[in-house]
Amino acid sequence: MSKIAGIYWDDTAAAPGISLSVYFSGCHFHCPGCHNPEAQDFNYGEDFNITTIRTIMEKLNKNGVMRTLSILGGEPLCDENLGDVMRLIGWCKLDYPDLKIYVWTGYTLEELEARDDEDVRTILRNITCLIDGRYEQDKRDITLPLRGSSNQRVIYFDKKEN
């Protein structure tokens, strides 16, 4: 079972617009200069369970404002978190088929595809945007939208193809 380092119910610092941002705990990359070093620990934070998912689903459109689901970490797409991330996306998509989902990962898209994993494929099929790649301190550039370093990429998936 995954742990959650934190959730911002109304967040302007992740995806464009208002996000509900979920930070999954645990990461193997340990990039120097990491933005959330405490979330590298897989035991950090609260349990992620069905109540977490229910609360998130409820709050995604609280006050009638449709939020974007932003998934960050830690590392949401490592093997330990993959299952729970997929469950979260699956449940949310069921209630909100048009939900926009942004995922931040330290893996590159090529690394993810090479894993040849059904869960990874399902996630990539259902999200709007992937921000990929390790954080490289010497390529730090705070002026870049959505990213921390210039090697990272913002990859939008064309929804119509899925």
């Binding site: 119910w9 109304d10 610092a13």
Partner: protein, 418 residues
């Protein structure tokens, strides 16, 4: 083109370090079909205005579609809802001349205010006059306290009306020479020299204001208007203000209005007196200031949308001026879409006048601008200006320019969104 130049000027800033201009206050009028949605002819101006707000705090947003300004003429921009900047506004003019739309704003203004300090009335309604022998009066039930309070408030509203009439008449007794330029250049609406300055001032608004609704409710029922019970009583209180002002307006043929007072000094001086009399009471006088008008207390953790939901239920009672603030992080300058969602939410919830507070700190040595605590991240200097909107307008560093109560209020503020 003029609006574009003004907004670009605001974004550019002033001086070598492109600092935020603290004047003039900018107000952007939001109007459906004109600038609210993609495809509207001036939607690009709205986006530019939002960019400016994120970086420079101004402009604020006036809601032309506000239900309280019904009767305006879509072909006459002089009748569109607008404010003086801080918050004062003019409702329908009971003395409008034939052929003039009563909602015309130009040439009118707020003539004089009187503000009622409601928490003191609430204490008196409990039978607590500050006299120690009376201090432990537990015999009065909550229902009785509320009725006492409503009676006392009604009495004070009538006293406020008498004070306003006296002041209005005194102001009208002045010679036109006191403000020759204003009267002689059509700056004031409806001025007829042979009738004296009253002919112009009667189009203005005289207002009954209020301080500390949140604390008042805490005294009366132990919760504020962020709860259902509190909101119910809040509406009863505001409805009384509105009803009386409407009656006075008819009876005296003067534009009485309900005003959600800024009280930048009164919030502190009234609290000092209150504390001296009653000591520190939890959620009532344990801060150094009373909460502004009907606002949700600044220290209350609440989301931006919930805050708008709550305040929008009360702003409709005010015809003479109110403002709804939300506190947002400086990072929104990179997320104008989020800002647009927030402003749209306020407009769609019929908020008349909406403003966003964005922390704006700048280093006086190198010019770096962001939210800075004590040390500039760029050059390490401790010479930092903390620019905040304290009430209505921007000033230099709030720590130099405002009384202790307002400084504490500014520091107690919590962000309403991450």
């Amino acid at each position: 083109m003029v609006i574009k130049a003004l907004l670009e000027g605001s974004l550019h800033g002033v001086g070598k370090y492109h600092k935020t201009p603290i004047f003039p206050c900018g107000i952007f009028q939001c109007m459906k079909g004109v600038n609210r949605a993609p495809g509207d002819p001036n939607y690009d101006m709205y986006r530019l205005a939002l960019q400016s707000t994120a970086q420079r705090i101004y402009p604020n947003y006036a809601n032309v579609d506000w239900s309280g300004n019904a009767g305006y003429d879509i072909n006459d921009p002089k009748t569109y809802f607008s404010t003086m900047g801080c918050r004062t506004a003019n409702g329908a003019d009971i003395n409008a001349e034939p052929g003039v739309n009563p909602q015309t704003k130009d040439g009118r203004g707020n003539i004089c205010p009187v503000t009622i300090i409601m928490p003191t009335l609430a204490m008196e309604a409990k039978g607590l006059t500050g006299n120690i022998t009376n201090q432990m009066n537990e015999d009065i039930s909550q229902e009785e306290t509320i009725e006492n309070f409503m009676d006392l408030l009604d009495k004070k509203i009538h006293e406020a009306k008498d004070m306003l009439l006296e002041r209005f008449n005194w102001i009208c007794s002045q010679s036109p020479a006191s403000a020759k330029f204003m009267y002689e250049n059509h700056t004031m609406m409806g001025y007829h020299p042979e009738e004296g300055i009253r002919s112009a001032l009667k189009h203005g608004t005289i207002v009954i204001g209020q301080l500390g609704l949140a604390e008042t409710l805490q005294i009366l029922i132990g919760c504020d208007h962020t709860t259902e019970e509190g909101m119910e009583l809040a509406k009863r209180i505001e409805a009384l203000f509105k009803k009386r002002c409407a009656e006075f307006k008819q009876e005296y043929k003067l534009n009485f209005g309900v005003y959600y007072t800024p009280a930048e000094n009164l919030c502190y001086t009234a609290m000092k007196k209150f504390q001296k009399k009653y000591g520190k009471i939890e959620n009532v006088s344990d801060h150094d200031y009373f909460t502004n008008s009907i606002h949700v207390p600044v220290w209350h953790e609440i989301s931006v949308f919930d805050k708008i939901d709550i305040e929008s239920q009360l702003t409709g009672y005010s015809s003479a001026g109110c403002i709804t603030y939300v506190e947002v992080p400086s990072g929104v300058k990179n997320n104008i879409d989020a800002l647009e969602i927030i402003v749209n939410y306020a407009m769609d919830h019929d908020i008349p006048y909406f403003a966003l507070n964005v922390p704006l700190d700048s280093c006086n040595d190198c010019g770096y601008q962001d939210e800075i605590n004590d040390t500039c991240p760029q050059c390490g200097s401790h010479n930092i200006s903390h620019l905040r909107r304290v009430t209505g307008y921007l000033t230099g560093s709030y720590k130099d320019a405002f009384n202790w109560g307002k400084q504490k209020e500014t520091e107690d503020r919590v962000k309403h969104i991450h």
